[in-house]
């Protein structure tokens, strides 16, 4: 029997790791990887809350699925921007994209 709070701790830790990745990384793709970790942390929470409150109501799972869809769209848009910039500038290091200061 796993207490709900374990899931919440785990998800908080995953969220914090993702947050660190977003704030500390230079490469745009690496930043996006951090954002994926944050979204997964939220999804762990959603599914855990669904299971531990009222599993007959599907709202938690539905929202998790919506997050999947949005994450997929986000990655498609983000990586297309990254590749387009790389084609023009040969770099995706956020620090070096310094036409305007970051």
């Amino acid at each position: 029997m796993i207490p709900l709070s374990w899931y919440l701790y785990l998800s908080a830790a995953l969220f914090a790791i993702g947050l660190y990745g977003v704030l500390a990384r230079k490469n745009a793709i690496a930043i996006l990887l951090g954002i994926e970790l944050m979204l997964n942390a939220a999804n762990i929470n959603l599914v855990a809350f669904w299971r531990y409150t009222d599993p007959a109501q599907m709202a938690g799972q539905v929202f998790a699925i919506i997050v999947f869809a949005v994450a997929a769209a986000e990655v498609a848009v983000g990586l297309s921007l990254v590749i387009s910039i790389y084609r023009a500038r040969k770099t995706v290091i956020a620090d070096e994209l310094d036409l305007m200061k970051w």
């Binding site: 207490p3 701790y9 908080a12």
Partner: protein, 168 residues
């Protein structure tokens, strides 16, 4: 400690360790591969939470599509991989502080959330997959978010194609 707790700890360890590598690995191909490990650990948690369908979607969509897309993007921008400079920016100590602080804050709040201990869990209905499908298309439930998500995918697709298109 019962079996489910052991599985939980193993997958939690997998998730956290590989997530740490995702945000620290110098080589971005490795970071993307570590992301797959994290995502897989999360899928195991979904199984543990009796959300089998989500576990499958996690593997198929997240690992099968999103993580692979990341690997493609890393490969396509591989010049950056050759640079031996540090992959973190100058703010990383601040970042560490902010994330440690938010971890502490959320964990502190989650601490009081032990209500599952004193009462047995409600069983997951056997037809939960059917219910999920119904919920997604029922007008009284989630058909609107479902449709809006599809509009969102169209907009994202049009945008991604426009941006990535070779305009020369």
């Amino acid at each position: 400690m019962d079996a489910s707790q052991i599985i939980f700890f193993l997958s939690a360890a997998l998730i956290l360790v590989s997530a740490l590598f995702v945000v620290t690995a110098r080589n971005l191909v490795h970071a993307a591969l570590w992301l797959i490990a994290t995502l897989f650990g999360v899928a195991v948690l979904y199984v543990l939470l009796e959300a089998g369908f989500l576990a499958v979607v996690q593997v198929v969509v997240y690992i099968g599509a999103i993580a692979i897309l990341f690997i493609f993007a890393v490969m396509l921008t591989r010049r950056d991989l050759l640079s031996q400079s540090s992959q973190t920016n100058a703010n990383w100590p601040v970042a560490l502080g902010v994330s440690a602080l938010s971890l502490a804050a959320i964990a502190f709040i989650a601490r009081g959330f032990g209500f599952s201990l004193d009462r047995p869990l409600a069983p997951v209905p056997t037809d939960s997959l059917e219910r999920l499908g119904q919920a997604l298309v029922s007008p009284q439930q989630f058909v609107l978010p479902f449709e809006v998500a599809s509009v969102l995918l169209v907009a994202a697709l049009v945008g991604a194609v426009y941006v990535a298109m070779n305009k020369k």
